[in-house]
Subunit: 349 residues, 2 copies
């Protein structure tokens, strides 16, 4: 076949067709400036241009662990693009990762992001970087690096994807998890700040099917749908740290895709079940409004959305008493751990 | 506006429209099995379902650092999709990250991946996971976690993106970088295994513009274009470790997007320049064939592709002598570090 190929006009312009370095570099420089606002002294500046170098303190306690997690914000980006507001997406990705790492009992050290798009829009990237930097500062976590990719043909011009990677630390004797959970433990739910980063594919289908606009105010809600949907995924770092200061926290389940029925069992040992009294808290109006709009079954709702509880803490009864008497209404006793005895892992009633 | 909305037929089927959990879970289980083939004892199994827990050895040497990097394989995925071969893409992402972390002098500890697509194809995901697991085993690195996302509407059905995050470690006294580079240092180039993961947007434009098929054999090459383009990004871990065992390595530049002119300066101090003798190695035939095909300028070629050298090692002269007498033809002396004296940071001649 090779004989048939004849060189044509120069194609040099194509090297810049995908990536306009001047345009992209201004935006990426701004991201670096924002990232610098999060930097702690452990990050060794000026070293490692291809990778971030983080110095561990000398004399770490025995049993020190590194806890890592990666996540993305999923199709919530499509709603941000439709509404034209991206600041919260930056918070979403950091806090999603913070919460996942937190479930082991670890606190954050550093974060890296991966942003990919069809064509870099400096304004969008800056909003996202501002959100990431703010959430990192709040979590006491350094934004140490990232990759910003233009991938024309994979992403549409305005579309983007955002993933994150977080490393935290704790010691073996502070690790939380199934090994600590026992019958009689109390389930404390901490309120979510909206849909967080899950259920958006269903919501988008629903909005398309009903031919709605994100500016609609659904019955029973008081803000435009787009605004409610873009509420940032909150961080549970401070709530969990204050809970741990009160007593014995055994396990934490971050309620993400698959809702309570899929996420709570991930921190339960085989021989126990969790019984949740769904009447203990009011499901926020956004969830009810979406359910009515799509005539979605109860089962589907609970298997898709967090339904108002974004983190479930499995705690000793005495710790639950302390937490409920001392803390704000954001912590609710929602159920308990029982012997399984043939029951499903999670019973919603 | 809310009055205009009336509920329609149930939309429950849409919760599964984006993600078919049964289909996806089989594939994700297979990824987990492959990941398990890379696991080292430091990974604490059965703990941390939302995040991976890695136990550091007690009594770490003072000055221990964590080195982290994130990358993606860019639009090379589009060529994998066109050709229908994905195994190498898994190796690409791991080795890209290994090489970036390696530039600081660190060796890998653990890796996480982020795979996103319009609709999970179990066969594609498995090929990628096999490639990632193989590259992780070769690097002595554990594949500890990942996120697999279905994002219909962001990605086309067959399209996907793959990013990776790697954490490695070294000690402060073993760190490489600009601070060690001085005039008289020798530049050793280590051969690349193809385009690695850069320049694919240009190549795709070129293939489209010339109306070629990836099965074409370009003049001067001996394999179908698609096969040459999909050659996996190699790891420089063993080559660099053996070089360091010979003597003084000062800095390492991973030649990625932007080629030698953009990447080598990243590890040079302000007061020096690098003079590269491009006649010292033969640019591989694939690069020359692409240049002829697109009538691409020399400058554009060097600013886009690695041109046959994937890692440049800045070493002491005695170390260069040792390396060149003892090692295979994959290491080539390609230039030296000189006083800058008004020169550009990198002089290609």
């Amino acid at each position: 076949m090779s004989e048939q190929i004849t060189p044509g006009p120069p194609l040099s312009q194509y090297a810049r067709a995908g990536v306009d370095r001047n345009r992209a570099e201004g935006a990426i420089r701004r991201v670096a400036q924002l990232a610098a606002t999060t930097h702690l002294p452990s990050l060794m500046a000026g070293i490692g241009p291809f990778a971030a170098v983080w110095r561990l303190p000398d004399g770490l306690p025995p049993g020190t662990t590194l806890v890592s997690s990666t996540d993305s914000v999923g199709t919530k980006t499509k709603i941000a693009v439709a509404v034209g507001r991206h600041h919260g997406i930056g918070r979403d990705i950091v806090n999603h990762c913070v919460n996942d790492v937190l479930t082991t009992g670890a606190t954050p050290l550093f974060f890296l992001d991966y942003f990919a798009t069809g064509r870099i829009d400096a304004g969008v990237l800056e909003q996202i970087a501002e959100g990431m930097a703010a959430a990192c500062r709040e979590a006491g976590c350094s934004l140490v690096g990232g990759e910003t990719a233009e991938m024309p043909g994979v992403y549409g011009i305005g579309d983007y994807d955002l993933a994150g990677f977080l490393v935290g630390t704790t010691t073996v004797d502070r690790l939380l998890g199934p090994q600590l959970v026992r019958p009689g433990d109390i389930l404390l739910g901490i309120r979510s700040s909206g849909l967080h980063t899950n259920g958006y594919t269903l919501v988008r289908h629903l909005v398309a099917e009903r031919e709605l606009d994100y500016s609609v105010i659904l019955p029973g809600t008081d803000l435009p749908l787009g605004e409610l949907l873009l509420a940032p995924h909150r961080s549970y770092l401070n709530a969990v740290l204050s809970l741990r200061s009160l007593g014995d926290v055994h396990a934490l389940a971050h309620i993400t895709g698959g809702g309570i029925p899929e996420n709570l069992p991930r921190v339960l040992p085989e021989e126990v079940a969790a019984v949740i009294e769904t009447s203990r808290w009011e499901v926020p109006s956004l969830f009810s409004a979406l359910q009515r709009l799509g005539d979605i079954s109860e089962e589907e709702m609970w298997a898709t959305f967090n339904m108002g509880i974004g983190m479930i803490c499995v705690v000793a009864p005495a710790t639950a008493d302390q937490a409920l008497s001392s803390s704000s209404s954001e912590v609710v006793a929602i159920g308990e751990i029982v012997d399984r005895q043939g029951r499903a892992r999670v019973v919603l009633r």
